[in-house]
Amino acid sequence: MDRKWLTLAAFIVLAGVFAAEGETIDLSNPSEASCGDSGNIVDFTCNIMKTLLTLGPMIAIIALVLAGITYVYANVFVTADQRGRYHTLATSLALGAIILLALVGGAGAISSAGSKLLTTG
């Protein structure tokens, strides 16, 4: 199987595992968000945002873990001439995860700042 699809499959599996654990990984603390349960479009959108704010850090952590595993795997099990590819993958994963975490943090900040601005006038 192609390396890209293998990575994607690993993402999906690990995301499922973490999702089953509930909101244990919660960097932006979206559990504080109370979206209401009236079922209107506002609450629906709010719930999507809440889910993504929960899912984002989760995926980032998974990516970081995968990056670490890949790096260790490359160093231990892969020959020196093939190691570069795995190191590149690990670096890309780690970089992407860090950027995702930064974006989630920024989005959380935008959300709370925006809400404060709009509700206080």
């Binding site: 890209k4 990575t7 994607l8 993402f11 968000a33 109370s34 979206c35 209401g36 009236s38 209107n40 479009i41 506002v42 609450d43 959108t45 709010c46 999507i48 945002m49 809440k50 993504l52 704010l53 899912l55 984002g56 995926i59 980032a60 990516a63 993958l89 890309s92 994963l93 970089l95 992407g96 995860a97 950027i99 995702l100 930064a102 974006l103 989630v104 920024g106 989005a107 959380g108 935008i110 959300s111 925006g114 809400s115 601005l117 709009l118 509700t119 206080t120 006038g121």
Partner: protein, 363 residues
């Protein structure tokens, strides 16, 4: 993050039955936050899968989401009704002179639209035009009825029936045409007033918030930008150009209107005193009218017809001037306003990341 809407959001009132106002802005914030996280996830996937297309899409989308976030924040600060900086500056353009005060007395002033706004001024101005048109119609209608009755008066002299004022029927026909023109202009004015009410009720309360929401989704970005441009254009440019029309031409029109109204009053007083049979008052039906009485009737008739004809002849000239000015104010200038509004919407659409193709309005 609940759906309670207060503060600045409260300034964008909800329209019953629609997703608009504060709720829509709240949704816009949720969508922006969601899109940022989604962009991050896609970027991570692009990195992991070494997919340049995904990475580029994420980068471009992040830029667009950032612009949308800036727009949402900016719109709260600039376009909130009553508190927005642009709205305050825009409404300060409303003149506070005697004419503006006088306008508020016509057709209920600003009842039906937001008070102390440019829309209010434009609406009151249109009300003033409607008032003028309706007054002219009422005056002409009165005169026309009297002239029509006079033109059909016949005198039965033994075996000959004379209709001495039948020539007035040609004036009646002219007045009928004038009435039709005024009726058309009256409809146009009411259409423009209805349009101003629509702009007042819908632009900031519905089009703008929905445009902001749509602007934040990558699939509906252009539609959102177009809706935002439409909202800003029709709320700011259209009423402002109407108000400018009011300031530019009202002085001339007011004078013409005064002259026409005075002539109509004059004509009405002449026609109401034109009763050639007044000389025969006191004569019972069946009595013989003397020769002196008939001479009196004819003299009175000649005098009345002479003054009536002179007064009636002045009316078409005044009415032509008046209707010409009204056509300029009610038809020509609003068309110009609509063209300017459409052009501004087109330019604003480019600014908001959309494009509206209006080949006939290219500048």
């Amino acid at each position: 993050m609940g759906s309670n809407v207060t503060g600045v959001l409260g300034d964008f009132p909800e329209t019953p039955g629609t997703m608009a106002g504060g709720a829509a802005f709240q949704i816009a914030i949720y969508v922006i936050v969601s899109m940022i996280v989604l962009v991050g996830i896609v970027y991570l996937l692009g990195k992991a899968l070494s997919n340049r297309k995904l990475e580029e899409w994420a980068k471009n989308e992040f830029l667009q989401v950032f612009i949308s976030a800036a727009m949402v924040g900016g719109l709260f600060l600039l376009m909130a009704p009553g508190t927005g900086l642009i709205i305050i500056a825009f409404n300060s353009l409303v003149p506070t002179d005697a004419f503006a005060t006088a306008l508020s007395g016509y057709s209920g002033g600003c009842s039906g639209v937001s008070p102390d706004t440019v829309i209010c001024y434009a609406y009151a101005y249109m009300g003033y035009l409607a008032f003028q048109i309706m007054n002219l119609m009422a005056g002409i209608f009165t005169v026309n009825i009297i002239l029509d009755i006079l033109s059909k008066i016949s005198i039965d002299v033994i075996v000959v029936e004379v209709t001495p004022l039948s020539g007035l029927s040609s004036i009646v026909q002219v007045f009928n045409s004038i009435l039709q023109s005024l009726f058309f202009l009256g409809i146009m004015v009411e259409v423009e007033r209805a349009l101003l009410i629509f702009v007042d009720k819908v632009a900031l309360q519905m089009f703008l918030p929905i445009g902001v929401v749509l602007r934040t989704f990558f699939g509906t970005r252009k539609l959102g930008g177009a809706l935002m441009a439409l909202a800003v254009g029709i709320y700011l440019v259209f009423p402002l150009t109407i108000a400018m029309n009011a300031m530019a031409v009202t002085e001339v029109t007011t004078q013409a209107y005064t002259d026409t109204a005075a002539s109509l009053m004059n004509l009405t007083s002449i026609t109401s005193s034109t009763n050639p049979m007044a000389e025969t008052e006191g004569t019972s039906s069946g009595d013989t009218v003397s020769t002196d009485q008939w001479n009196g009737v004819l003299e009175k008739l000649q005098s009345s017809v002479s003054s009536l004809t002179n007064a009636a002849m002045a009316i078409p000239t005044l009415m032509t001037t008046m209707i010409s000015l009204l056509v300029v104010q009610v038809v020509f200038l609003p068309i110009l306003s609509i063209m300017l509004t459409v052009i501004s919407i087109k330019e604003l659409a480019n600014l908001f990341g959309s494009e509206i193709n209006l080949s006939r309005f290219e500048v």
